[in-house]
């Protein structure tokens, strides 16, 4: 299978200016290929989350160049970046961020409806497929607050998958979970990567988690440790 560069970051630099100037990222170069399961590890404050948010297009205050799917993200407007996130990137955060006003399947459907490439019935079908993959099909009509935290996180993963994104990004997705639920979430990621050839980029401080991924990127003081 040919390898395709999904994310290509060149010379990414970022500084915080409050309260004093601190260089968080220093000339970071990074490439992620299609189908890779990559983890970023490092001590807290090393800039790994900052890097993730830059790669996710949510953080736009940086220098250097970022290409997603071969398209440069520099000089794109807010609405255009939103579209890129909608179509090409799926997110899983430490916290599930489900909307309490919607039931689980509607939460999963939300980004799909936003993309508006399929009609509602098709999106609903996709959503229940993804939920089946993650073993939460029985929770579809419940509200998020009726689920356990592990289940919530899996709903969030299903939501990340709904538009069949190029890559799933995770910021400590197991950080809030106990051992058992972490293992389930990790197994889910592993299955996605191996069975469905899904690319994943996960920031974590859990070395056990990282060990089982295809590639580990270790960061230290704003640089990638070689």
């Amino acid at each position: 299978m040919e390898t395709k560069k999904i994310i290509e970051a060149q010379n990414i630099c970022k500084s915080f200016y409050e309260p004093t100037e601190i260089k968080v990222l220093n000339e970071v170069n990074l490439t992620i290929n299609n189908g890779e399961f990559v983890s970023i590890i490092g001590k807290s404050g090393c800039g790994k989350s900052t890097l993730l948010y830059i790669l996710s297009t949510m953080d736009t205050s940086y220098t250097g160049n970022l290409s997603i799917d071969g398209v440069s993200m520099k000089d794109k407007k807010d609405a255009e970046l939103a579209l890129v996130r909608n179509e090409k990137i799926g997110f899983v955060f430490q916290f599930h961020y489900l909307l309490n006003e919607f039931n689980n399947i509607n939460n999963v459907m939300l980004p799909g409806l936003k993309l508006n490439k399929k009609n509602k019935a098709e999106v609903e079908h996709d959503a229940s497929e993804k939920m089946k993959i993650l073993g939460i099909q029985n929770e579809a009509l419940k509200m998020p607050n009726q689920l356990s935290s592990g289940q919530k996180q899996r709903v969030a993963i299903a939501r990340a998958l709904i538009n069949s994104p190029l890559i799933i990004m995770g910021d400590e997705p197991t950080g809030n979970l106990d051992k058992k639920n972490s293992d389930i979430v990790f197994a889910t990621f592993k299955e996605l990567a191996e069975v469905y050839n899904q690319s994943l980029l996960i920031v974590t401080h859990d070395n056990d988690f990282a060990k089982n991924t295809h590639r580990i990127i270790e960061m230290e003081d704003g640089r990638i440790k070689v």
């Binding site: 989350s49 609405a79 939103a82 579209l83 997110f91 955060f93 919607f102 939300l110 980004p111 993309l115």
Partner: protein, 419 residues
């Protein structure tokens, strides 16, 4: 933008905060209700007061003033056209008050497309004889049908009928003030004296109450023919021609034209009653100011609830933005919430406003000077409802705009990383 999706998000957020939403909507309802009630009531009062004078005032009145002729015979002679002429002790002519060639003028005016109707009138000062006392007064000789049609003469005739005045020769409708002074009953005969000294018996067929006491103490009405008989004048003798126009705003210009055309004085309603216009517009202004103040207060209510909602829903906004909703989408979500509150509250307000003005219009209100008015006057002008609806939309939009803008500017990274 997928408006259906955005709408469903707005509705879900609304439902999650139903109680506060309803309080905010009720604020709009209350203010629109008061706005409509206040304006309807104020406009009703305005109309009442205006009608007191304006409905009985001709839009244009043609008359002659007691003035010496401006062109004296000597000015017409060509042999003196280059000279200065000095004439002393000029006096006006006795018959100068009557409008010359009145029948022709009336016929001409009846054909004018701007004119609703023409009512000729003959106004003469007289004395009411009460034993050896004489009360000064004024008799208006009127065309009863025209007065009824144009000036609602019938409405102010509280006792008796105007038809009797038309059909009974030598009959009079007395001002209520005069009647009280003279202790006259219906169908009594009274004596009057004209300024030329003729005594004349007249039969009382009704009483007239204008709402202005001073007026009711002097003026009475007879048919045109009776007044002419009283003065020993022919039936073309009249002193006023009163006009009503389709468009009251044309009155000043038309008056100017007629003044030239008929060589009489002509006064329009605007000039004659300038102070009424001012009073009405000030009252309207005050009611609008109060109404809009209420709406702005309601707007702050909506502003508050939205701000609170946005503060509470920070996480939801962040995840919406992270998963591909643009700032504009988020803004639309909250503006829709504001507009929903505004529209629901506003519609209810219009309904309640209608109810409120209906209630006001049943409250008894009687005053001696306004015989026809039994309850508080209310004007149900559809414009108030349109204005109320538009204002409620504008204020709720404004109240929603600023919080929505804030929501659209929320940086998802700040929220998500802040956890």
């Amino acid at each position: 933008m997928n408006i259906r999706l955005i709408t469903s998000i707005s509705i879900s957020l609304l439902k999650a905060r139903l109680k506060q939403t309803m309080v905010a909507a009720f604020g709009v309802t209350f203010s629109i209700t008061m706005f409509i009630g206040l304006l309807s009531f104020m406009a009703g009062l305005n109309e009442l007061l205006d009608n007191l004078i304006l409905s009985r005032t001709p839009h244009i009145r043609l008359y002659n003033e007691v003035l010496p002729s401006k062109i004296q015979p000597i000015n017409m002679g060509t042999e003196f056209s280059n000279s200065y002429n000095f004439i002393q002790n000029i006096k006006p002519k006795a018959d100068i008050l009557s409008i010359k060639n009145s029948q022709a003028i009336i016929n001409y005016l009846r054909k004018d497309v701007d004119v609703i109707g023409v009512a000729p009138k003959l106004v003469v000062p007289i004395f009411y004889n009460l034993g050896n006392i004489s009360l000064t007064g004024v008799i208006n000789g009127i065309d009863v049908d025209a007065e009824n049609k144009l000036f609602a003469f019938r409405d102010y005739t509280t006792t008796g009928t105007t038809e009797k005045l038309k059909n009974t020769p030598n009959s009079i409708i007395l001002g209520i003030g005069v009647a009280k002074k003279m202790l006259v009953q219906l169908n009594d005969n009274i004596q009057i004296t004209s300024i030329t000294g003729n005594q004349y018996p007249l039969k009382v067929v009704g009483f007239f109450q204008s709402g202005m006491e001073e007026l009711d103490k002097v003026q009475s009405f007879t048919s045109l023919a009776t007044t002419q008989k009283l003065l020993n004048k022919p039936n073309s003798y009249i002193t006023d021609i009163q006009l009503k126009l389709y468009d009251i705003n044309k009155a000043p210009n038309i008056a100017k034209n007629y003044k030239k055309l008929f060589a009489t004085e002509a006064i329009d309603i605007q000039t004659a009653n300038a102070q009424f216009e001012t009073g009405s517009s000030v009252r309207t202004l005050i009611s609008y100011a109060v109404g809009i103040t209420l709406l702005i207060v309601a707007g702050f209510g909506i502003y508050n609830i939205l701000n609170m909602m946005i503060y509470e829903k920070m996480d939801s906004i962040a995840i919406l933005k992270a998963t591909g909703f643009s700032g504009k989408d988020v803004k639309t979500v909250f503006i829709l919430i504001a507009l929903t509150i505004g529209i629901l509250g506003g519609l209810l307000g219009l309904l309640f406003g209608f109810g409120l003005s209906a209630i006001i219009s049943t409250i008894p209100f009687s005053t001696a000077s306004l015989p026809k008015v039994k309850t508080y006057p209310v004007s149900n002008n559809p414009m108030f409802y349109v204005t109320g609806a538009i204002f409620s939309l504008i204020t709720t939009y404004m109240a929603g705009y600023f919080p929505s803008k804030k929501a659209s500017k929320i940086d998802p990274v700040d929220i998500i990383r802040g956890k």
